[in-house]
Amino acid sequence: MSARRATDAVSAWLFRALAFGAAGLAAVVLVALWLKSRPLLAHQSLGSLLWSSDWQPHAGSFGFLPYLAGTIAVTGVAMVMAVPVSVLAAIYLAEYATNRLRSAVKPLIDLLAAIPSVVYGMWGVVVIVPAVKHIAASFGVSCTGYSLLAAGVVLAVMVFPFLVSIIADVLHAVPLDAREAALALGATRWETTWHIVLKHAAPGIMAAIVLSFSRAFGETMAVVMVAGNVAAIPRSLFAPVYPLPALIANNYGEMMSIPLYDAALMFAALALFVVVTLFNTAAHVVLHQLERRWR
């Protein structure tokens, strides 16, 4: 009897300790990145790191503005393309589609989500980059194809499955009686969706958008392969960009040979971590609350 009690107590403490440890990992990552980027913060003020576009590691000056602008531009372009399409597709799946269509489409969406980002990158290099080059040429712009637009398109396709499946789930969770009341009052299905369902689901849809924004924000491999990686603030859709994750991925090899360079890359990682974590926390808090309210 007591042996069983002891097993129970010991295992319970072990489970709890591991759970707290796992949950605390995010904090450990934050502290480690901060410790490693401290030399850079001592060397240069945060303001000049974020607002200067003077990037000369050899001369000891690190201005992250082109990279930040690149990241925001790429993510913005991707979201502008992905959000309307995904919201409409999710509404169709949740409100209009028959069960048969829904269960046929779901595995495909899951598959899209499961495709590794390098494969997206390769697809971008093989298909999107030449296409962008072609389009740029028809506008009379000379462009290698490795550009803001190419990275945006690849990222947009990458966030499709996240947006569609989260939004479809959120819409699906909207209580049925609200819909029935609207339909009974003579609203068309679209009017019901627009006035009732979307209003109910708005916080959840916002959360889904924020979540996929932060996923796109930190996406590395697909972007590094198609963005062109030229450190300048992009002036057009056909200009090459150099987002933060690409900076980290491209320079890990040299980072030990130049003073402060490793701190600069870790600062880039820290910046990514902070932005993504803030966004994710907000989005998940909203989603968890909705889940509890509608259960």
Partner: protein
């Protein structure tokens, strides 16, 4: 608004929605189509069983293969999944209501969700810091730990979800018969949720084998099949990344072949996860 106009709007929106859904599905088809069309001619048995002969930049003739990347990826993904399962299973157990109060569980779940969202390049950078701190170089072991860290949050979430679906009545029956909390967890809940657990592990494996950004720093790259945990290991995603930019068509073919192999693995694993959930579920008492 006239009734006619309202119907026009209804039709218009439906058409727009169908177009959007079509676009999403077309992108699935486009990606898979391109990978298959490019990869299939490049793929051969020799490609799979031969490591690159003379460095991946110089690989010429028929001498280049991706065996190093294939084996490296399998090692890293298997090791990472195993390590992550060892941690995830107890954590998922702790997320049952018998172990922690609701507020704490919600907080831990939130932290794990946030950890899940951390970009893998950041996780890689973090693991690199830790390895550098202990004087470790890029190695198979480093890659395994990194991948474990990347996939752990997904695995815990999926496992906890599966365990929370176990019927409460069975739990109460076991308790009434005098089982301890641990006994209930191991003999009832875990046994009941085997399909969910297998699905969680397979999905995490699929995620782990495709992750590249975190491996850049931690597992390195080599032309040889690793023989010990301390040697650097190549991986399929990194093989695609490095070889695609090569000026030699023969080396590029390696990237196409690697992408097809990677895609096949991911598709098989994802389909396996679904099949497990459906098939193993038959024996579960509901």
């Amino acid at each position: 608004m006239s009734i006619r106009r309202r119907h026009v709007v209804e039709r218009l929106m439906q058409a727009l929605m169908l177009c959007s859904l079509g676009l999403v599905l077309a992108s699935v088809a486009a990606i898979i189509g391109v990978i298959v069309v490019r990869g299939a001619p490049a793929l051969s048995w020799r490609m799979l069983v031969q490591p690159p002969q003379s460095g991946y930049y110089a690989g010429r003739g028929s001498g280049s293969g991706i065996a190093n990347a294939l084996v490296g990826s399998v090692y890293v993904a298997f090791g990472g999944t195993l390590l992550a399962s060892l941690v995830s299973l107890p954590v998922a157990c702790a997320l049952q209501k018998q172990y922690l109060p609701g507020g704490v569980r919600r907080a831990i779940t939130l932290m794990l969700d946030v950890l899940w969202g951390v970009p893998s390049v950041v996780t890689g950078a973090f693991c690199f810091i830790v390895m550098a701190h202990y004087g470790l170089r890029a190695s198979l072991a480093g890659g395994i730990c990194t991948i474990a860290l990347v996939i752990m949050p997904v695995m815990v979430r999926a496992m906890a979800e599966a365990m929370s679906a176990a019927p409460a009545a069975m739990h109460e029956a076991a308790c009434a018969l005098g089982a301890t909390r641990f006994g209930v967890t191991v003999r009832i809940v875990l046994r009941q949720t085997v399909p969910g657990l297998v699905t969680a592990v397979l999905l995490a494996f699929g995620r782990g084998i495709g992750d590249a950004a975190s491996l850049l720093f931690t597992s390195g790259y080599s032309d040889f099949i690793p023989r010990s945990l301390s040697e650097p290991a190549a991986s399929l995603p990194l093989a695609i990344f490095f070889q695609l930019n090569s000026p030699f068509p023969e080396v590029q073919r390696g990237a196409y072949a690697a992408a097809l192999v990677l895609l096949l693995i991911v598709v098989v694993v994802t389909a396996g996860a679904r099949a497990c959930a459906a098939r193993l579920g038959i024996h579960v008492v509901r």
